[in-house]
């Protein structure tokens, strides 16, 4: 189960990276950035949390890192979207 989740997360991240490279529309590209932060991160974190660690401190750290990535991802996409719109309009 843990292996499946980790694989799924890595695959989503790789898919997002490839689609990001191949997309010409500069606004559509940012959706793939958000996809990696919001879908790939929980999958990989869940998969890693289910693996065996030596103490619960490590799992707690893992969850905190995952929460950090999950929350900062959309905020960064908003900032980038703002910048892209300003450059496109102005």
């Amino acid at each position: 189960m843990s292996a499946v989740l980790i694989w799924a997360g890595a695959a989503v991240c790789a898919f997002a990276a490839v689609r990001l490279l191949l997309t010409r529309d500069r606004f559509l590209r940012l959706h793939f950035v958000s996809l990696a932060s919001v879908l790939a991160t929980p999958l990989v974190i869940a998969g890693l949390a289910l693996a065996s660690w030596s103490s619960w401190h490590d799992v707690a750290k893992l969850v905190i890192i995952g929460a950090l990535l999950f929350v900062t991802g959309p905020a960064t996409v908003i900032a980038a979207g703002h910048a892209t719109k300003r450059v496109s309009d102005g």
């Binding site: 559509l28 879908l39 908003i78 719109k85």
Partner: protein, 151 residues
Amino acid sequence: MTGRDFIEPAVWWAVLFATYLAVISKISVAELVVGALASAAAAGAAVVTRRALLSADNPERYQPRPGWLRWALPIPAQIVTDSVRLLRPRAGFAEVPLPEDRRAAALRGFAALAVSTSPGTYVTEVDPDRDVLVVHRIAARPSRTERAVSP
């Protein structure tokens, strides 16, 4: 300074110190001292920030309303549907109207975050005069989160 003024920094310190202890792998005297000092400094900064940003007399009114937490409910399902949608996206801009609220600045900020969390939409511009979020979408119809945020 009365006794009640010490409650808030103490709570911050306790939470931060507990988080610190949760994530370090070995607990030794040096770690405890460093953690206590760092938590104290961070608690001081947190109290000052909270008082400046979220106090009721701040004219910008950044304090969130608890009712806004319901915006988080459609997000997990929305993430799944949007991820599937991204295989065949139809990109376009749209406007999301926001309800009237005295705490307009906080509403715009939190609504923008809630709408942008799912990969299907993100906010590109905020129009404070018309209370509208200009978003970029991949579906033609508004997502459930957008509908939850609108009036």
